[in-house]
């Protein structure tokens, strides 16, 4: 592990590489999942300045600094258009102009199913999770689906999810066309250990790359579903100094990406810290008039 960057920064850079502006396709931000947001902003500020983003009701929003109290206003102020959710859904999701969907779930399995609903039996759950919002439709209609996880363990990447809120399989063009789906493409998993990808319905997820210092054995051991282990596995591209600097100083100076890695009480304490910084900035705004 490098002392030049944190592991979540490597994950952000890997996800950002999926976002391109080669075609007029759209990425919708969804609820505030800081790691995904940071990835989109990094792409937009570097290799994909003309990538289309939709945040809240704003279409063609600019890159914004991640914060609780400023991001929505920035999206509003810099966007090319505003549209209500249902027409936006028709335009982007159901209209299949969607490019990249980043999703983080409580569980994912080797069949590309994501669980955002329950841990345990559906009718008497151990933990009731938020639900998938539009993810069940979105993961089947976008070009690229990246699932990211703050932990790589067999409790998260499981043999079979407790409940399939949504599913990104089959992956092959033919099988998808038979189901009335017009987009195809692989499903990718990004974790603190590795990148996994499934691009063939008849084969399991394969290790696409290992993060520096991680072994294939370690990944297999911590994955609950079957994995294909190629003979030569490349190392995941490390963030450049420029990317790290952009993330820390420009995109996420408040450090919101850490929220994806904290639970319960720790998260609340960190929220206090970040919100104190946001309050100080707000007071400065008022003082400026």
């Amino acid at each position: 592990m490098s002392d030049r960057y944190d592991i979540h920064e490597l994950m952000v850079c890997r996800i950002a590489s999926e976002m391109t502006d080669d075609e007029d396709l759209v990425t919708i931000l969804g609820s505030f999942t800081p790691l995904a947001y940071a990835s989109y902003m990094l792409a937009k500020l570097t290799h994909a300045p003309d990538a289309w983003m939709v945040g809240y009701n704003s279409i063609g929003m600019p890159a914004v600094e991640l914060s609780f109290t400023g991001a929505e206003a920035a999206a509003y102020r810099g966007a090319y258009a505003r549209n209500s959710f249902t027409p936006n859904g028709h335009l982007v999701h159901l209209g299949t102009h969607g490019l990249l969907e980043c999703v983080s779930a409580a569980q994912m399995d080797g069949d590309g199913a994501i669980n955002l609903s329950v841990i345990g039996p559906y009718d008497s759950p151990k933990v009731r999770l938020p639900g998938g919002a539009g993810a069940p439709e979105v993961v089947q209609n976008y070009r690229k689906v990246v699932a990211y996880f703050s932990k790589h363990d067999a409790r998260t990447l499981v043999k079979k999810v407790d409940f399939a809120t949504g599913r990104r399989t089959p992956v092959s063009k033919d099988a998808r066309e038979k189901l009335g789906l017009v987009t195809d493409g692989p499903v990718t998993i990004v974790t603190p250990l590795a990148v996994l990808a499934k691009s063939d319905d008849d084969r399991p997820f394969a290790i696409e790359s290992l993060h520096p210092g991680v072994t294939a054995e370690e990944v297999v051991e911590n994955t609950g579903f079957e994995l294909e282990v190629p003979a030569d596995i490349p190392t995941t591209t490390e963030p450049t100094d420029e990317q790290v600097k952009l993330l820390r100083e420009t995109i996420d100076p408040l450090g919101t990406v850490r929220f994806d890695f904290l639970g319960g009480a720790e998260r609340l304490a960190y929220l206090d810290e970040v919100l104190a910084k946001e309050w100080a900035r707000a007071e400065a705004l008022l003082a400026k008039g």
């Binding site: 400023g70 929505e72 209500s84 249902t86 009718d123 919002a133 069940p136 089947q140 009335g180 319960g264």
Partner: protein
Amino acid sequence: MSKPSKVVELEQLSDLIPADATVAFGGGWFANHPMAAARQLVRAERTDIHAMALLGTIEIDMLVGAKVLSHLTFSMVTLEAFGLAQAFRRAVQSGELPITELPALSLQVGLEASAQSVPFLPVRGPIGSDLVAMHPEFFGTASSSFGDEDVMVVKAVRPTVAIVHALRADRLGNAQFDGTFGQDPELASASDIVIVTAEEIVESAEIAADAHLTKIPGFLVDHVIEAPFGAHPCSHVPRYSQDAWEILEYQKAAMAGGDDYEAYLDRLRNETEAEYRERVLGDDRGRVLGALAQAGPTLEPQS
């Protein structure tokens, strides 16, 4: 002769909602939820509401916590970076709150079917989701005489009541939105009774002057209620940003549960909406939220 005004007071809200009504709440994420209306239902001590939320958050969690709901139809209920919605989670885990979980885009299409007065509409659906098999009353298939393959369809969804929060409205019910408005217009067009809370009630001439902001025409609207900071602690951009500090205070109480959480709800029950505003938005909070909503700095690509 002109019709009587649709404007009523917030205190009358509960009287406008029939017993056991399905009530769709507007807004999305931490933006623009009709929070003043949700607080008023807590004050009215309703216990029979079937709520519907697409991208629900603190408004739904609070209604669940105060035991206002008898059922919840939803796509998502979350406090996002603040953590899981605690009252919602506890009530579902204990079996106290019956739920219907539906994918958001399919639910939107179901609402659209209702708005168009058709019994169902096709949707490019959530294939492979367990929610499809779980809800045969909502997801179906239909064939056509055109020779196409059978398609997945969703049943029309018709809420009894929609409550949405607008920037401005007039006595006729014309409702204007500028920043984030979720799927509020679609909820209005799909529901039997439409209640608009608004930051301010204005003259119809003022509505006409900015006609491009009118997202819900008055003929759809039954009642209009003036509710300044009516989305607080959610945002109503460009008027005010999300009050993350108040949301955190709520979440701390909800995570603690028990007496701490009851105290939070009791305080709401025992104050009027005007008293709530004075308590929470004093000490510069309101001005800070306004300044934040106006600022919104954006980032430029690196050259």
